[in-house]
Symmetry: none
Subunit: 247 residues, 2 copies
DNA sequence: GCAGGTCGGGTGGCTAGGCCACTTGACCAC
DNA sequence: GTGGTCAAGTGGCCTAGCCACCCGACCTGC
């Protein structure tokens, strides 16, 4: 029993976390086949049902693809960011796109949000605080906050836009998460979200936009640091170039 | 066995879909408790394991929240405004979302566009002029222009965002057959696109944003006229109501 | 009366073991 | 070579059961 019985969180999440880590660390590269469910169950010391639940959650996150009768495969993702080659948008593009789009969304949300929307935002902040130790639910809560912000604009299309941005993020997830899963970072995120919620509650559009820009700006800087730490040679030059116009 | 044996997709997805429908249709309003897993299993005629998998997928989608020893609860989010016969965002929501998002994209494009990008925009305007009589290629050309504008920002994520907005548009038009697109409208579109291209070429961000706002604002007004003609009652009141908070 | 405890029914969490349908590739006959 | 068969491996799904937890009803005892 390598996993604690009834300690912190649901079993399938622990398993999903561990598998996600293995994938992120390159143990199972994109396109690779994971061990069979029965093997995973044995090696984790859990039942096959729990493994299946974990797999389903990974499937939902787009990290993994299940082919019946064949196996479970790591979703084919664009080449790793550490390699200079890039297919699809990189993390900095995504983050600056989010800054642009979600900044305006925050401003509009500040103008349109109802009391219900505001309290939903605050509840999300509280939930994030509550699950600070659980990587998976932290991710979900983060996403939720930004979706709630979009919802607070009262414009369903904008919700879908933000959802699309988070889907883009999911594609980068395996690469990003290594740099993004410290608790300290999550705590800063809580403060940022709270600042945004506050501005929305005050119906201050400019403050909301600014707070969101600060939030994502900080995330960009943190990620930059992560890239520098991981690859002090030229990783950041590559990354920085990717953030500018691509001729 | 009310559910087909080995038909289309995995069981848990079918169950999740049905539950999501029930939630969307207000069968289980926000905050309500779903029937117990065992009951759901019985009523669906499936095993509890499958129900659990479905619940986990709904949990991952943020539709549902599981409280151990207590029950499964619908997450407090009012996506159930199904009433007036429309699911998903309406045309006015989509257009104002595009105004918000693409306005900023136009401004950024004005700052970042290279000479190549600018000439690509002009070529698109010319092509639109050339195929003014062909409804289908006119549509494609229109879409192309807006995608080129996003590409001119140099940010791949923004291209995907605009692509997503046009997908929303495609779905909308599937629902409401009314493509009130006239040649006269297309000619105004050409002028609008030209104005945007001009502002981008001049690297004038504010002018670009304003030109795009004018463009989509005009489209909104035209569409409004179409709605009024077709249904003089309250077509837009519905749309407007959906923009406010849903109790 | 009213705190404070107990207890039991209901709920989700997880395990064990089993059967089925599907995929794949090796093997064999033609 | 081509085509078919067949068996092993895989995920899909089920049954049956025990456990930990939550909560309300029901008792105590002050």
């Amino acid at each position: 029993m390598p996993l604690q019985l009834v300690e912190p969180k649901r079993l399938y999440r622990q398993i999903a976390d561990q598998l996600a880590q293995l994938i992120a660390h390159g143990e199972y590269p994109a396109g690779a086949r994971l061990p069979a469910e029965r093997e995973l169950a044995a090696s984790f010391g859990v039942s096959r049902a729990s493994v299946r639940e974990a797999i389903i959650s990974l499937e939902m996150s787009g990290l993994v693809e299940v082919r019946v009768g064949t196996g479970i495969f790591v979703t084919a993702q664009p080449r790793s960011v550490e390699r200079a080659g890039d297919a699809g948008p990189g993390p900095f593009e995504l983050l600056s796109a989010r800054k642009l789009v979600e900044g305006e969304i925050a401003a509009l949300a500040a103008r349109n949000a109802s009391a219900d929307h505001v309290s939903a935002l605050w509840r999300s902040v509280e939930r994030l605080d509550a699950c600070i130790d659980d990587f998976t639910s932290r991710e979900a809560e983060d996403r939720d906050f930004h979706l709630l912000l979009a919802k607070a604009t009262g414009n369903g299309s904008l919700e879908l836009v933000v959802g699309g941005l988070w889907n883009q993020r999911a594609e980068l997830w395996g690469r990003l998460q290594r740099h993004f899963h410290t608790v300290g970072l999550a705590q800063k995120t809580i403060r940022d979200h709270a600042a945004i919620a506050e501005a929305v509650e005050a119906h201050d559009a400019d403050a909301a936009r600014a707070a969101l820009h600060r939030h994502l700006g900080r995330v960009m800087r943190e990620f930059q640091r992560g890239v520098d730490d991981a690859a002090p040679r030229d990783g950041d030059a590559t990354a920085r170039r990717r953030g500018k116009a691509a001729p």
